[in-house]
């Protein structure tokens, strides 16, 4: 390569974990820094927005986080125009991530909870940041947008790197593909997802019985979890059945069920609805034919929080949320 690749890392609404995942590449990061020019990366550098504005082109941009304010949108759109390859990095950028759970509520309710109802808050004046002016200079916090968006709601994405944060091996894989692409040695198909193409279950080492029969669904605090047996077979919901493989199963190995941060496996149309269907067909309730319809329904409903559980990281993808929010 005669010219160093110019890379920008641009955050929206982030927790910082995606940044840390980059920093944690460590030795590989140092190698990477030898091969690329980082032109924008707020956590580790003192570059400011005007530096990006001054650039004529960027080879690769990594978008991290979701979009919560007009400002986030402005910046990603501006950078996207200059970038040759656009990457959505992390569950928030790819699917909305955990912060999308806020969309289970109307925005007004969320604000009210935080600034008026929290038990340690004293707010006699009913002050709402962004709305109430309480100083002589008219200084106000800016307003928020209506929903927590994923990045491809606003810009076209070439490559998705899922995970919360993405696993090290997948980041390195992506970097490798990108370097080869710019050397003219590889193609990048629009919409490539840097992860496996199967489900977590396909590579999970836990013992799975031929047929799963349970009495009712259980919550993680209700049982002593068997470290060798499939979670579903223990009645505990595990998102491995619809989640894309490629994370290396760190949670499963630590004896915790998957919560789906790698996002939906290929061919899933709606994660939540797919899970509802998949779980009901995989898991049979004990003595099903002998129970009344209501008893069966009650046992199915022992999954206490289907929306918060099934869409833990992917509510931003949910088509139903968009139906609700449409004007």
């Amino acid at each position: 390569m005669n010219k160093k690749l110019r890379i920008a890392i641009v955050p929206g609404e982030v927790c910082g974990g995606c940044d840390m995942a980059f920093v944690d590449l460590h030795r590989n990061l140092i190698d990477l820094l030898g091969a690329v020019d980082i032109v924008f990366w707020p956590i580790a550098t003192d570059f400011k927005e005007e530096d990006v504005e001054a650039l004529d082109s960027i080879d690769i941009v990594f978008f991290q986080g979701s979009i919560r304010t007009e400002k986030h949108r402005e910046i990603i759109e501006k950078v996207a125009e200059k970038a040759k390859i656009k990457v959505a990095f992390g569950a928030c950028a790819c699917f909305g991530g955990v912060p999308s759970l806020a969309d289970l509520y109307a925005l007004g309710e969320v604000i009210e909870e935080v600034y008026l109802k929290s038990p340690s808050t004293e707010n006699e004046g009913g002050i709402i940041p962004g709305e109430t002016v309480d100083n002589p200079y008219g200084i106000l916090a800016p307003k928020l947008v209506d929903m927590n968006y994923k990045v491809d709601d606003f810009v076209d994405i070439d490559i998705y790197i899922p995970g919360c944060p993405p696993p090290k091996e997948r980041i390195l894989e992506a970097v490798d593909i990108l370097v080869r692409y710019f050397e003219g040695r590889a193609d990048v198909e629009k919409g490539t997802v840097i992860a496996g193409s199967r489900t977590l279950c396909d590579e999970c080492p836990r013992e799975k019985p031929e047929k799963i029969v349970i009495d009712k669904f259980k919550r993680i605090h209700e049982v002593k979890i068997d470290p060798n047996k499939c979670f579903l077979a223990q009645g505990i919901v595990c998102l491995g059945i619809v989640t894309r493989n490629g994370c290396g199963l760190p949670c499963i190995k630590a004896n915790m069920p998957c919560r789906g941060c790698m996002g939906p496996a290929p061919n899933v149309y709606d994660v939540g609805a797919k899970l509802v269907s998949a779980i009901a067909s995989l898991v049979e309730i004990e003595n099903e034919p002998k129970l009344s319809d209501e008893e069966i329904a009650t046992k199915a409903r022992t999954i206490v929080d289907p929306a918060g559980l099934f869409y833990r990281f992917t509510l931003g993808l949910s088509r139903l949320i968009r139906v609700v929010k449409k004007k």
């Binding site: 609805a273 269907s277 309730i285 139906v323 449409k326």
Partner: protein, 143 residues
């Protein structure tokens, strides 16, 4: 599905009906002149257990205000043995999830209707259309 004003709005309902029972029941309703509202668009499926809840999502997305699922009576009428149990568990859980997302769970309805119950089909259909009419069009905020 056209632009509509508040007055001209009519509930739109998609019905996924099992070919062996509910769908036959709907046909029977037709030939026996038990009138059921034209708001219902019936789709015949092989078994209620073959209805993936993703179809329901798609229906809502395409503009349905309500979704009806019709299957064979529990415990033993289903031709695929346990298809109706699958549907029962799915719908129970799906309703719970719809409610959390901000969609009134009454917009999804499950009924067991045999091939001979043409009258029941017509009644269910009428009742459901009226229920959805009361709920109003889907979308425009958390319900």
């Amino acid at each position: 599905m056209g632009i509509e004003t508040e007055d001209s709005w009519e509930p739109k309902i998609i019905a996924f009906l099992c070919k062996y029972c509910a769908s036959a029941g709907a046909d029977l309703a037709g030939v026996s002149r038990f009138k059921y509202p034209a708001n219902i668009l019936p789709i015949t499926v092989p078994c209620s257990g073959s209805i993936d809840m993703q179809f329901v999502v798609r229906a809502f997305e395409m503009g349905a205000d309500g979704v009806l699922i019709g299957g064979c009576h529990t415990p033993s009428d289903c031709h695929f043995l346990r298809g109706n149990f699958k549907a029962l568990k799915r719908v129970a859980l799906m309703k719970k999830m719809l409610e959390q997302i901000g969609i009134d769970p009454r917009r999804l309805r499950l009924e067991w209707i045999s091939a001979t119950e043409g009258k029941k089909f017509a009644e269910v259909a009428k009742e459901f259309v009226e229920e959805i009419r009361k709920l109003g069009p889907l979308g425009g905020g958390h319900e």
